[in-house]
Point group: C2
Amino acid sequence: MLTYSFENIDTESMYEHLYRCIKQDILQKKLRAGEKLPSKRSFAKNLGVSTITVESAYAQLVAEGFLYTLPKRGYYVCDLEQETPAPPPRPQPPKSQGAAPERRVYWGDFVGSSVARDMFPFSVWVKLLRDVTASEDEATLLTDTSAGGIRQLRQAIADHLYQFRGMSIAPEQIVVGAGTEYLYGVLIQLLGRRRGYAVEDPGYQRLSKIYEKNDVTTFHIPMDQGGVIPDKLEESGAEILHITPSHHFPTGIVMPVSRRYELLSWASKGENRYIIEDDYDCEFRLAGRPIPTLQSIDVMEKVIYINTFSKSLAPAFRISYLVLPRHLVTRFYETLGFYSGTVSCLEQMTLARFLAQGYFEKHINRMRNHYRALRDRLLAALRQSPLAGKVKITGEQAGLHFLMALDTPRSDQEILQAAEGLDLRVSFVSQYYYDEARRQPHVLVMNYSGLEAGKVEQAVDRLCRAVLGPAPEGEATKATGGDAS
Amino acid sequence: MLTYSFENIDTESMYEHLYRCIKQDILQKKLRAGEKLPSKRSFAKNLGVSTITVESAYAQLVAEGFLYTLPKRGYYVCDLEQETPAPPPRPQPPKSQGAAPERRVYWGDFVGSSVARDMFPFSVWVKLLRDVTASEDEATLLTDTSAGGIRQLRQAIADHLYQFRGMSIAPEQIVVGAGTEYLYGVLIQLLGRRRGYAVEDPGYQRLSKIYEKNDVTTFHIPMDQGGVIPDKLEESGAEILHITPSHHFPTGIVMPVSRRYELLSWASKGENRYIIEDDYDCEFRLAGRPIPTLQSIDVMEKVIYINTFSKSLAPAFRISYLVLPRHLVTRFYETLGFYSGTVSCLEQMTLARFLAQGYFEKHINRMRNHYRALRDRLLAALRQSPLAGKVKITGEQAGLHFLMALDTPRSDQEILQAAEGLDLRVSFVSQYYYDEARRQPHVLVMNYSGLEAGKVEQAVDRLCRAVLGPAPEGEATKATGGDAS
């Protein structure tokens, strides 16, 4: 009879050991297809273990398909090779494959966003989370996965939009999701993948990429000083228009009211036409009142508003939301209401309290002051630099970047390369154009949100060197306070 | 000259008030297109306010497109009606539209999942979150949005899979996302929307729905006792196969090894063929060892493993993950690496510690004991009920549901209606078939994870009434301990 040793089996249980031994013998063909195994009782006696041990091992092997059982007759070895050749040994994957690429970290970064240390009130957040777990119904906290988001958060967002953006909407119109990129995908499922989607040219590159990855036909509509050009939009045949009217990226254009009405009029001319209003950084208008939203002047229910807390809280928070016109709310719940929400209920509850108890407003004010100081320091450094007479700055009042037109014979490519060599990340407006023929050269997009305050002067110094070429010995250095590196 | 009153302006600032007055006059055509506004200085003097106030109001109106400015000449009213008719008044949306539908809450639920109160260690979670904010680099906490998820969590998941599932994988192979439904969408973008996707019939209905909403061609492959039938799969022409080999929903089938090898062999025959192994409830095998994964016997890099913490922590946590073969890791970062992650960094860090410090294992053990007790209580109640001799129960060893075949002349539809009338939610295996001709009647899917322990006997009593029809006065009630309602 079949026999196995039970010595030195370490941490395994008896039955696990027996299971492994038999499985190995089947895989190595020491036990052949169709072979009958000993009865549980006699096998147990022979091995000096309990019947339960053998029974458990057999049951596991049956569950995994190594054994089969015939009623009242016993256990038999399965034929593992029905039509199936034994698989070849696992190939060693090439070493270069499959590693997540490291993102390069620059000494100074005028492109990416980051948030300064100490800018987020972690202790408040932890306190609110503890409050939530102490006072909310725990069953709700554990099981609420509504497609649109939890009630408390949607109410808090609606109140916030009313106070902060003058928008009068019902909480039911809000759909909460794990980031705007996720919500773009939801909108494609809601509005239809086969419709044409129009985006701004120049514009936010990730947006076109996301539409492309979702297999959506995308049209790049050229812009003039007021935003996308309505005639070009009409010509394109697109049905969905995705725009950033409050603060266009990268040009900083605020869409004038007349253009807004023109685009609303365009939308009203087709049943399936909609405008997606991307209000990504409205919280960071650094002077004057916030620009009213397109949504708030839309009387035809054609505007879908989208905004995110990733920009206003911190990038690592993945909470964004849509405001849908009412008829699309109905369609959303009919066609996509079966989806589970994508943001943890705990985090939604915590954010709801963060908003309702005034912490969000405080946080935004603090961030706005921080960014304003950062911008002013950067502008001051630029004024005192050798670039002073050679640049024209625009769009410095709104949100986290401005444009700087350079009076230089050097090409954008040359400057990019020089900056790269100085470990400085910069970008030009020209890089955001889809239509190469329309690219405007020599305009830097100065995104300062990722810049450390203490590095501003040194960063300007490096920028001067990248734009103007290497300074005569010691000169640029003197002018801007020096660069230790 | 234009004049406005500054009395009773309440909480508005002076400039906001002036801005609103001028805007209103433009909208009401009291100020006409092309009309010149007073110079800042004279207007300020006339109104008795500072020049700054007028300047700020003008600047805001320019930003919003109500005024334009000509250098050295002054401010003029924009033409708001270029080609654009004034929009009609906002229509009152019909009252029935646009409300998020309330999900019906049943007295007893054998379909949905929920988690009992007190089952989740909130205090541990809050403590770990506080630890995270106190000890991690705050800048990382605020800004890490890597597409694949944060390093610490991926490491903790890889360790967990090694210990718990015997899977030997590198953390780089893991992609973290906000729920499996989101990750299905990622896989479609990674593998291609134009390929055919095969799912199990019967199977998890939401899955087909998700593929449908993503405009993917889906094939429903019939199953035999071992899982999807390879010949039918081959005939379908599908390239991607999505299965639940460890515990099929709803039949509970554990796929035998021979079928596993057959399907791996199928996958190896086409460059673009892949198997998605959905291991949705592997943590809740209530007897015996966990079933080894398909991923762990895949030597051709054809298996994509997917699992979720929504089932094992609690539904309201939206954290799931993929394990990609290495060549797909490379493709993921090349084509989709630009995406931001979808799970908040704070929550990822907290979960990483929850896993690494052994709390997850404790939690799972606790849940498993809870579910085992619930199942035993339910089985005991069924044995003592009038249904005792009329049902055959199968699949009660694995995860959170079992099947109960009924010996009854009543149709599934009749029983469903009767249960509905008793405020009891039940489902039949027949409801999970795509191919109507193959539907097996009279088999209830008994998902007990959403059942309150204290209601088990009463729920069985109601179930008896739904299956057998109303009991003779008082009889069924006596047998199972009574139902107060």
